[in-house]
């Protein structure tokens, strides 16, 4: 009833190719953006910022980066966390070497470094495919984390070996470091994530996105119709690592406040891969749905026993959490292997013809 596409005629190709050809979708997005930009900040508590809003946005961005590589260009990567680490360490070096630099510029610029590293580790993808490539990206994962630990210059030869985010100012307001308020950080993250999402949607719809999809679906066939595989794969690695690197810089500067090398270890990579896969490979929306599920679930599970008055020790809760997350991953894979985004697409199709079944 509410979701009727009938009567919305397109009179030009431009209108047909628009970002939101259906009026209701645009309306829905406007509502979501209104919530994100106005209503959440009015209502959210410190707890909500730190455990839900900010991490969900950052994880979505990281998953979006991975999704470009794995979902759109078909190159499975298990090294996401290490590329996040490159972004974070690059940003740390930028702000400590050049304290006058605008922090948002530093964050956006640090992605360039991780893009470079990503391209270097993407070169084997020209010869290696499938699971072999996935294991090859693990080489990046282990090597880079080792490097973060051993290369003192990266963390300014701290005794602790960890990076600590300094207080950073932008237009007279603290945006990072211990003195920054959660609201400002939330807005910075939200602005960057919105920008990146828009960028990624348009990249994947355009010429570059089509060459990625052709590479994913069958790379030999893509090569035969004249797609330069090297260019296609390496741009996918570059764009993906850029987005992931920015997410990594946000991860440390806007959320964690400090980072040790093992923060970027393999469990983080898997976490982001879960988000991308449960959300749906080859979809932008899916990353947000997946992040809400994967980040939100442990929070709910942690508060649930207390709310119900069941006495369980926190260690048991944590282990139960791991178990439940594991089984839910299997559960979601079984009910919809194409992810939550596909589930939404199915609901949407049903809504369009509702109340008639066909």
């Amino acid at each position: 009833m509410l979701y009727r596409t009938a009567g919305q005629f397109k009179t030009s190709y431009q209108a047909d190719q628009a970002l939101f050809p259906v009026r209701q979708d645009a309306f829905l997005l406007a509502v979501i953006l209104a919530f994100a930009w106005v209503i959440f900040p009015l209502m959210a508590s410190e707890f909500a910022y730190q455990t839900l809003l900010i991490p969900i946005l950052i994880y979505s961005l990281a998953a979006l980066g991975l999704n470009i590589l794995t979902g759109y260009a078909g190159q499975l990567s298990l090294g996401t966390a290490a590329f996040m680490g490159v972004g974070a360490y690059a940003c740390y070096k930028l702000v400590t070497l050049m304290p006058w630099l605008n922090p948002v510029v530093a964050i956006l610029f640090s992605g360039v470094f991780s893009a470079g590293v990503g391209v270097a580790f993407g070169i084997p993808s020209l010869r290696i495919k499938g699971f072999y490539l996935a294991i090859a990206t693990l080489a990046a994962q282990f090597f880079l984390v080792w490097l973060f630990e051993k290369w003192g210059w990266l963390y300014n030869y701290n005794a602790s070996g960890a990076i600590q985010v300094p207080n950073l100012e932008m237009f007279g307001v603290y945006v990072a470091g211990p003195q920054a308020s959660s609201v400002t950080q939330y807005y910075v993250v939200l602005a960057i994530v919105t920008l990146m999402t828009l960028l990624c949607i348009n990249l994947t719809r355009g010429n570059l996105g089509r060459t990625w999809k052709a590479t994913r679906d069958m790379d030999i066939a893509a090569e035969l119709i004249g797609i330069n595989l090297m260019r296609s794969k390496l741009t996918a690695f570059a764009v993906s690592s850029y987005v992931v690197g920015v997410a990594g810089a946000l991860f440390v500067f806007m959320w964690r406040g400090a980072a040790e090398p093992n923060l970027f270890d393999i469990p983080l990579s898997f976490r982001i891969l879960f988000i991308a896969i449960i959300g749906g490979l080859g979809s932008v929306l899916g990353n947000y749905l997946g992040a809400i599920l994967i980040v939100g679930l442990p929070v709910v599970l942690n508060t649930l026993p207390e709310a119900l008055g069941i006495p369980i020790s926190s260690a048991t809760v944590e282990h139960l959490n791991i178990m439940i997350v594991g089984s839910l991953i299997i559960f979601f894979l079984i009910i919809e292997p194409h992810g939550l985004a596909r589930l939404w697409a199915l609901i949407r199709e049903k809504l369009i013809i509702w109340p008639f079944p066909h």
Partner: protein, 317 residues
């Protein structure tokens, strides 16, 4: 600098050959264990195209079950039998609950499902057995714990008897496995399934039975690995990281090849020890074992994309 990289390590090696032998032996023993884990991967990959990430946690789970049962006062050998029963139960459950509904899905989905299994088993193991480090019941199982001291060229070479036992048991296991795969009806069925699913199904081979069987064999291998590694380093969830070591072994050897898993495991075990001792510690600040195997495998793959022993990749449009 060049001297440190190209000359000094070799001079060190030949001036103290007994130490070199000791390093190689240590590498060989860990290589055997990598090879065993890789073997579990290969078996499952060949018969079902599933990249089984859960093999590492199966090792931990088997070892924990064994030690946990013994702590409850069950005699050691009955513990082994009971653990095997548990691994069989696990194989049946995984096939029923996880694999059956996911038949025919893309590889990456099945891979993610095995990571789901990994997380589930980590949580379950921590709840049942607790996370602290436990001592493997080496003596109760009749494994000798003394060491053999050899003196080649007037030097000193210490071989632990439990390591020797591990090497022998692993060799026997591999021989038994190869005999099983090549000489028995079941083994032929497993290989047939690996060659072509549909053809195997059409001549009446049961996919479900074979999958349970393969996962059970992987469970047996996991138990052996768990005992051998647990005897060296104790039983804890830290064991899980050796699962990551099996991945470069697979790349190096080829995902389908049993020979590849063994040769790759031994090569990586020995080379990473050599590199760590002679290059890593003096030049790079140590702890290079975390990435050396991956980088080595990556370099080999650049020249042979299917690994040393993998099936040739033939691509068609």
């Amino acid at each position: 600098m060049l001297n440190d990289i190209f000359i000094k390590p070799f001079v060190d090696m030949f001036s103290a050959p007994d130490f070199l032998l000791q390093v190689l032996w240590e590498g060989l023993v860990s290589g055997i264990l990598y090879a065993l884990i890789a073997l579990g991967f290969v078996l499952i990959f060949r018969s079902s195209r599933i990249f089984n990430f859960a093999q590492g946690i199966m090792v931990v789970f088997a070892a924990l079950t064994l030690v946990g049962l013994h702590a409850m006062g069950v005699p050691a050998w009955i513990c082994v039998l009971l653990t095997l029963a548990v691994m069989f139960g696990l194989a049946v459950t995984i096939e029923r609950v996880v694999l059956r509904p996911l038949v025919g899905q893309p590889d990456i989905i099945l891979f993610m499902a095995t990571i789901g299994i990994t997380l589930f088993l980590i949580g379950l193991g921590e709840i049942i057995f607790g996370g602290e480090n436990k001592v493997m019941i080496t003596e109760e199982l009749g494994i000798p714990t003394d060491s053999v001291v050899l003196e080649p060229w007037g030097g000193l070479l210490i071989l632990e008897q439990k390591d020797i036992t591990a090497v022998i048991v692993a060799a026997l296991l591999v021989v038994a496995l190869l005999a099983f795969l090549n000489k028995t009806r079941m083994g032929r069925a497993i290989r047939a399934l690996g060659d072509d699913h549909q053809a195997a199904l059409s001549v009446g081979i049961s996919l479900q039975q074979i999958w349970v069987l393969v996962w059970f064999i992987a469970g047996i291998i996991a138990l052996v690995t768990g005992i051998a590694w647990g005897a060296r380093a104790g039983v804890s969830f830290a064991l899980e990281v050796i699962a990551y070591k099996a991945l470069p072994v697979l790349m190096l050897g080829g995902l389908e090849s049993i020979t590849g898993a063994i040769v790759g495991g031994l090569m990586i075990g020995m080379l990473e020890k050599l590199f760590e001792i002679y290059w890593g510690q003096p030049l790079l600040g140590g702890n290079t074992e975390t990435w050396f195997a991956f980088v080595l495998a990556l370099i080999v793959l650049l020249f042979r994309p299917q690994g040393l022993f993998g099936e040739r990749i033939i691509e068609r449009v």
